[in-house]
């Protein structure tokens, strides 16, 4: 009986699919081929979303508009085994620095609107914990504020520090977890590895939830390094963004 039902439902699905096919026409999805960099890297949008602007609370991060230096470092790190996600490693394994740089510049150059953040209900304690860590850090534990390197508006700093807003919560959690467990590495000195090791699980969870819930500011772009000069507090040396050292107050 269950079998019959299942196969009946299956047949119904097939009929619906057929109908959809007939109605939509075969090449409804096909865009005309153009030999552009966008066409060459169309494969990336399968996970990172149309034009690289992944939305919602799916796992994959938005790449559109991120600083080119940051994207290039990540592409290279996946290729060279410093970041561990086998699908990404497989995608870039056969590509050289020149092409990875071009890909990074392409996605970085896309200036596209962000979706509204997800309405999240955070407890007052969680919000307090997150705001303190994000804006002041914890000097006692040599923990820099997120804003000290990622910019006061958390939209990133040119050319190599990514923005932290508009990213899926799961993705932020996974990255801090990967740094903590040694699955993700950046160039030495690996400042984020230090941050991730010092943060407790509760703190990671609070910060990621808070970041995920923040609306984007009017200016969503990464700021120039000069905008950081007035920042105060500790800031770890960072191999991926050596220019930060020069800007240390």
């Amino acid at each position: 009986m269950r079998l019959a039902l299942a196969s009946g439902r299956h047949r119904l699905c097939v009929c619906v699919l057929l109908l959809v096919c007939l109605l939509s026409g075969r090449s409804a999805m096909a865009a005309p081929f153009e030999d552009t960099i966008a066409q060459r890297v169309l494969a990336c949008t399968g996970c990172h979303g149309q034009d690289g602007r992944a939305v919602g609370d799916a796992y994959f991060p938005r790449i559109a508009g991120k600083p080119a230096g940051y994207l290039f470092n990540q592409l290279r790190n996946f290729r060279d085994g410093k970041r561990a996600y086998s699908l990404m490693t497989g995608m870039v394994a056969l590509l050289n620095d020149d092409y990875l740089r071009e890909i990074a510049h392409y996605f970085s150059s896309l200036d596209l609107p962000y979706p509204a953040p997800f309405a999240a209900q955070l407890s007052a304690d969680t919000t307090d914990m997150a705001v303190t860590l994000v804006t002041r850090g914890d000097p006692d534990r040599k923990l820099a504020a997120c804003t000290a390197c990622h910019g006061a508006a958390l939209t990133g700093v040119l050319p190599s520090v990514p923005g932290l807003l508009g990213l899926p919560r799961d993705y932020i959690n996974a990255q801090l977890g990967a740094w903590k467990s040694g699955q993700r590495h950046a160039a030495e000195p690996d400042c984020m590895a230090h941050v991730a090791r010092v943060l407790t699980t509760n703190e990671v969870s609070a910060v990621s939830a808070w970041l995920f819930a923040q609306p984007l500011p009017a200016n969503t772009h990464a700021v120039p390094i000069g905008a950081l000069a007035r920042a105060t507090g500790v800031r770890s040396a960072c191999g991926s963004a050596p220019e930060l050292r020069a800007a240390t107050p």
Binding site: L42, G46, L94, L95
Partner: protein, 426 residues
């Protein structure tokens, strides 16, 4: 000041000693080095060795992902356990810094290490045995020139009894004999050069010749194609016209494929893409032509007339067609015609129609780019569908592709998909 001078003196002394050792080693290994122009002889030898190292693709196995070049440590999975590649840099403690050219020649030609230990044939000395001693010397000179890296070799993790030298000795009695390359006087120089490269340093048979249960390649089926069990790819036959047989190909197309990773009617993927990326794109046009001439000359085998009643047509489902239209048609075309130079045609494509469907499943699940080569520096990509399509959907769309637009391949089952889902990059 004093300190700087002392450091300077130490550095000079070190350089003099190094030069002396280099010279001693050189004259020890190759008695007849002329005194005049010795430096250019050394440079030439190193240059020749660097080229040969590309031809042999030594770096690919002897470098970990993200690790120091030639410092070894890459895990190579085999049906008998894991073999770890060794450190080939001139580090004296952990590399081959204390080796002589004769030691190196013995490793290449006889598959024996400096200490006499038998080497595992994951190091393809069954092919390398054919290289000339001159070429081995050049390779060694090159390896002496790369930066020394201290990185201790990791012991292999092979299962009993494969981990014993006795078993290896028995295996070698059955399947290995040191053997110099014998030119065929009936063939011209280009053919012989091609044969030397394909059978020797190129070690094409390591993947393209089927292996028996003990992992030995079957010489009577040279380049007949075979599965790569641990990598989960299939190395197509280079003699079967229905697979990657090259008899009917133009020499120029073969050269282009090996040089750039793409040709008019084919592109490389999987392990062969790594071969093009790290090895063949660096080979000279005459050498690639020689390899093409040799490969074209192999006796071609016509496929037996298909008795497979289960042509995919009967298993094709509307689901497969729907998945194709939604995910594939925008690049590969409504009629599987592809876009020349960008996306391969699927209609009439040998790689799509092979009986072994491992490569197709891999490509659909994991996507990827063609290798970025000098001749194709900005390749087009294919997205991975591992997260989007389940095993049943992958089987359905492949069955659709293999039975549409005149294609007459067999159906692909879910079972043929599931085992490749977790095949990770090494």
């Amino acid at each position: 000041m004093n300190r700087a001078r002392r450091i300077g003196a130490a550095v000079t002394l070190a350089l003099v000693v190094a030069a002396g050792l280099w010279w001693a080693w050189l004259s020890d290994g190759m008695q007849a080095t002329p005194a005049a122009g010795a430096r250019s002889v050394v440079a030439d030898l190193v240059g020749k060795g660097a080229y040969l190292a590309r031809a042999g693709n030594c770096m690919l196995c002897h470098t970990r992902r993200g690790g120091d070049t030639y410092a070894g440590g890459l895990a190579i999975e085999t049906p008998f356990g894991t073999v770890y590649s060794s450190n080939l840099t001139p580090d004296r403690a952990t590399g081959i810094g204390t080796w002589t050219p004769v030691d190196f020649w013995r490793a290449m030609h006889e598959g024996r290490s400096k200490d006499g230990r038998l080497l595992y044939p994951a190091f393809p000395y069954t092919s390398f045995t054919q290289i000339t001693q001159d070429d081995a010397d050049a390779l060694f000179a090159y390896l002496r020139s790369v930066p020394a890296v201290t990185h201790a070799n990791r012991p292999h993790a092979l299962r009993w009894p494969y981990d014993s030298q006795v078993a290896l000795a028995a295996w070698r009695t059955l399947y290995f004999e040191p053997k110099a390359f014998q030119p065929d006087p009936a063939q011209d120089a280009a053919w012989n050069r091609g044969a030397y490269l394909v059978r020797g340093l190129g070690h094409c048979s390591a993947c393209h010749t089927p292996r028996n249960l003990l992992g030995a390649v079957n010489d009577s089926q040279d380049l007949y194609g075979g599965p790569m069990p641990m990598q989960n790819w299939y190395a197509p036959s280079l003699v079967l016209s229905s697979e990657a047989g090259l008899g009917k190909w133009r020499t120029a197309d073969i050269v282009r494929l090996l040089q750039t990773g793409v040709s008019a009617s084919a592109s490389v993927s999987g392990p062969m893409a790594e071969v093009v990326l790290h090895s063949t794109q660096y080979l000279s046009e005459p050498d690639l032509q020689a390899m093409a001439i040799y490969l074209k000359s192999l006796p071609q085998v016509e496929p037996a007339p298909s008795t497979a009643a289960a042509a995919a047509g009967s298993a094709a489902s509307p689901q497969g067609a729907d998945i194709y239209d939604k995910n594939c048609a925008s690049c590969h075309g409504d009629d599987g015609q592809g876009v020349p130079g960008a996306y391969p045609a699927l209609a009439g494509n040998r790689a799509v129609l092979m009986a072994n469907t491992a490569n197709m499943v891999q490509v659909v699940l994991h996507g990827g780019f063609s290798p970025a080569t000098k001749g194709n520096p900005r390749p087009f990509g294919m997205p991975p569908y591992k997260l989007e399509l389940d095993d049943r959907a992958v089987a359905a769309v492949l069955t659709h592709i293999r039975s549409s637009w005149g294609n007459q391949g067999t159906a692909v089952t879910e079972l043929a998909v599931v085992r490749y889902r977790d095949a990770a990059m090494r």
